[in-house]
């Protein structure tokens, strides 16, 4: 029986330099909107059942023969499962290889992080933001895999040179993730480590949690490639016997 949802179950927003983590159950969809444009949303995911199983960028990229993440792609764990699927994307490519801004990189780009002076406008960095959230689950720096940087896109030039695409995400850009396993999601809104901004960016990211439509046999993510069909077969086995 399908349930039509008009209003989201939950809605909130995050300003630049924020971090947050939460558990999302299978069947929910996480919609992230870059309201002002130019945002960067760092994200890593862990299986809520087993924190040793986590998002794996290499497996995600090679299973789908892609360097960019966009609509139709799935986010794989290191254990051959699909943690989530990208069911909607207006940007057309997000990167998962450049890692995080650090205390040093943010200081060099925008000046020292100083909460005493700047309060909520402090220059938080992506690495420290993740460390804070990791520790809440008994995790630490060793547990941080390569993250996704939503709304940030890299261009590949000759001989493998990489650069960040400027203005990849116009105002109102949106991605929607369908959760295909129960996950702990860590995210931050700190600047991309290759940011070209000269001032710490002011961004506004809206989060909506809604019901996802059930996965059907004609699902675009399932049918994106034979690998994804096998990934969903692995998820089927993983959830066998659960209600």
């Amino acid at each position: 029986m399908s349930r039509k949802v008009i209003d989201p179950h939950y809605q909130t927003s995050l300003s630049a330099g924020s971090h947050w983590s939460f558990k999302l159950r299978r069947g929910l969809a996480l919609k992230i909107t870059d309201e002002l444009g130019g945002a960067n949303v760092g994200m890593v995911l862990y299986s809520a059942d087993n924190l040793l199983e986590r998002y794996n960028a290499p497996d995600t990229l090679k299973c789908q023969h892609t360097f960019h993440l966009t609509q139709g792609h799935c986010l794989y764990s290191d254990m051959g499962h699909i943690l989530a699927s990208i069911i909607h994307d207006t940007v057309g490519g997000h990167e998962t290889i450049c890692g995080n801004s650090t205390r040093d990189s943010v200081r060099n780009a925008f000046g020292e992080r100083d909460y005493q002076r700047d309060r909520n406008s402090w220059h938080q960095n992506g690495h420290d933001a993740f460390l804070v959230e990791l520790a809440k689950y008994g995790l630490e720096r060793r547990d941080l895999p390569a993250n996704i940087n939503w709304f940030s896109k890299c261009v590949i030039k000759k001989e493998g040179d990489i650069a960040l695409t400027e203005l990849a995400s116009p105002p109102g850009s949106q991605i929607t993730l369908r959760m295909d396993m129960d996950c702990i999601v860590l995210l931050h809104t700190c600047p991309h480590p290759l940011t070209v901004h000269t001032q710490y960016p002011e961004t506004h990211v809206r989060i909506d949690l809604v019901d996802a439509s059930p996965v059907t046999s004609d699902d675009a993510c399932v049918n994106h490639c034979p690998e994804n069909r096998r990934g969903f077969d692995n998820n089927y086995l993983y959830h066998l016997g659960s209600v």
Binding site: L52, N56, A57, P58, D59, L61, K62, C63, H65, T66, F67, H68, Y76, D78, M79, G80, H81, G93, I97, C98, G99, N100, T102, D104, L139, E140, R141, R142, D143, L144, P145, A146, N147, V155, I156, K157, E159, G160, D161, I162, A163, P193, L194, E227, R230, G231, D233, N234
Partner: protein
């Protein structure tokens, strides 16, 4: 970048042959140099590094790629940690390009990439699991098994963003050499993959030579 080594094999203090499907786990001291020789060509040496003093500090593909602004590893690449410190430098390379995007094969990813019924075939991450169980003294746990280097693997990314495992550009006798910039633990799986045409479905041995400073 092709750069030949000045080191003489006769002066190497250690020499170990690692067969496909086996692992190598040992410490390389600050200033010491290791060479991996692709004895028969187009093999993949799936490699991870850890700080010997604190294995929660490990090789980071992200920091390495970002700081050098390039996807591929070769002579001159500095291999960085999750703390963004330099762990090792690649000092010689007769292959010219090495991958650090593609990760290691696992029994689980084999089911996705090839066939659900390939689940019991040997894989790099299984070699690492055996290595860390047989040698708990190194302090490396499953959570520390992260994104590795595939020495001798050719995984080009096109300008359109496609990622492919191409036939190797390595050949018999080609080698890569790196010098430790801190005391590091070297963990290598000599890849047993039988399903990928990039090694001609024929995994082969590697040779590890070491020199002290």
């Amino acid at each position: 970048m092709i750069k030949e080594s000045f080191r003489e094999t006769a002066r190497a203090v250690g020499s170990t042959k690692v067969n496909a499907g086996d692992y190598y786990l040992a410490t390389l001291n600050d200033g010491d140099t290791m060479r991996i020789v692709d004895l028969e060509g187009n093999q993949a040496a799936d490699t991870l590094f850890y700080a010997a003093q604190d294995p929660t500090v490990h090789y980071s593909a992200s920091n390495t790629i970002r700081e050098q602004g390039n996807l591929y590893l070769t002579a001159g690449s500095e291999l960085r940690s999750n703390e963004n410190t330099v762990m090792l430098s690649i000092v010689a390379d007769t292959c010219g390009r090495h991958d650090t995007l593609g990760g290691a094969c696992s029994t689980e990813s084999n089911t996705v990439r090839y066939d659900l019924e390939k689940r019991c075939m040997h894989a790099c991450r299984d070699s690492w699991m055996l290595a860390i169980c047989e040698h708990p003294e190194f302090g490396i746990r499953k959570r520390d098994i992260t994104h590795n280097i595939n020495f001798f693997m050719n995984v080009p990314v096109t300008p359109e963003g496609a990622l492919t495992f191409e036939d190797g550009i390595s050949a018999p006798g080609k080698y890569v050499e790196f010098t430790a910039r801190m005391d590091v633990i070297v963990l290598i799986s000599n890849c047993p993959q039988l399903n990928n045409p990039c090694n001609g479905y024929n995994p082969t041995p590697i040779q590890l030579l070491t020199w002290t400073q």
